[in-house]
């Protein structure tokens, strides 16, 4: 063990607790945002990321026009939020570094937990695998098959599970276990 959160100074325990609480808050709103813009089912995730690009016909040989009548109600129809390739490039560029930093911060907490090495390796791998699955799923959904939406869902759940496991263990070991409770 590189350091032991159970025996750490109370200020470090407090810092870790605040960090975990802050991540928890952002994860709650992250989940709300996913429910608003993508959803929690493979079909909704596929509609968001695969979008019409998956079924887009080849461009016509010559430009052609289709006219159809519209009603005001058609303008008011809720739009399915879609993420096209340009936006996905941008999302990947800004989100993946952030997820890496969060996984690293949670990984540092894991290093201070009293765990078997194999469990620690597993947890750290889970923390970093989650964003890879998340964004890998998005790209594969867009360019390979909508079925890969399941990977994005798995990534999202893995992120949540990783956070909850690390938080539960850290809070218990820092504040509840006999060694952690020592002054």
């Amino acid at each position: 063990m590189l350091y032991d959160l159970r025996r750490a100074d109370a200020r470090i325990k407090w810092l870790v607790t605040c960090l975990l609480a802050t991540f928890g808050l952002s994860y709650i709103f992250g989940a709300l945002m996913v429910s608003l813009y993508a959803g929690f089912t493979p079909a909704r995730v596929a509609a968001t990321y695969a979008g019409p690009e998956m079924s887009m016909p080849m461009p016509p040989e010559t430009t052609m026009v289709v006219n159809r009548p519209m009603s005001m109600a058609d303008f008011a129809k809720p739009e399915v939020h879609t993420v096209d390739t340009n936006l996905l490039i941008q999302d990947t560029h800004v989100h993946v570094p952030m997820y890496g930093v969060i996984a690293a911060a949670l990984g540092v907490v894991v290093l201070g937990l009293s765990l078997r090495r194999a469990w620690a390796f597993g947890l750290i791998t889970l923390l970093f695998a989650a964003p890879w699955l998340d964004f890998g799923g998005m790209w594969l959904t867009k360019f390979a098959s909508p079925r890969f939406a399941i990977l994005t869902l798995a990534g999202g759940w893995a992120m949540g599970v990783g956070y909850l496991v690390v938080t539960a263990l850290a809070v218990y070991q820092m504040w509840r276990s006999p060694k952690g409770a020592e002054p």
Partner: protein
Amino acid sequence: MSWLIRAAAVAALLHITPAVVLVKRPDAVQALLPGADTYFAREVHLSDTDAHRLHEAVDWSPEDGVLAFYTGKTGSTTVGALEFVRVDTPHGPLEVAVGFTSEGRIRGVIVTKATVEMKPWVLEAVAGGLTERYRDLKPGDTPAGALALAGRAGNLAVYIAGEVDKGVARALAAYGAFYNHVRT
């Protein structure tokens, strides 16, 4: 540890905030096609050649290679046409509605969507008269809203005006080349 904090701060700053609707599409349609009582969608499916031509002109390709124009009529009289153009910025997507008169000049421009982060910049730019700058422009003209706001509004409002300029330029190029010049 400081690199970690700096990296987190940079990542947080770059995080794209959720989209917000500034003006609902039906409201934009009514404002930009005043008096119209019937509407028609005119979807122009671009060939590779035409898509390339448009891309060369304004560094933009419409989603799925389809330009959507909406025409409004009162009885048999055409009121004008309307386009919704999306601009992807480093801060998230922006949507601009550009309405044309039946003579082919810009009747009005409305920013219909932005992100939570960009909303105050858009509101400041619009309050500074940004959208008035586009009135009467015709295909071939260059929108210069950002230039007009420079020095009279905050840097971020001027920045967002530049992004709105891009949307208007795309609408002008698309309208000029493809609204009336493709046979159905």
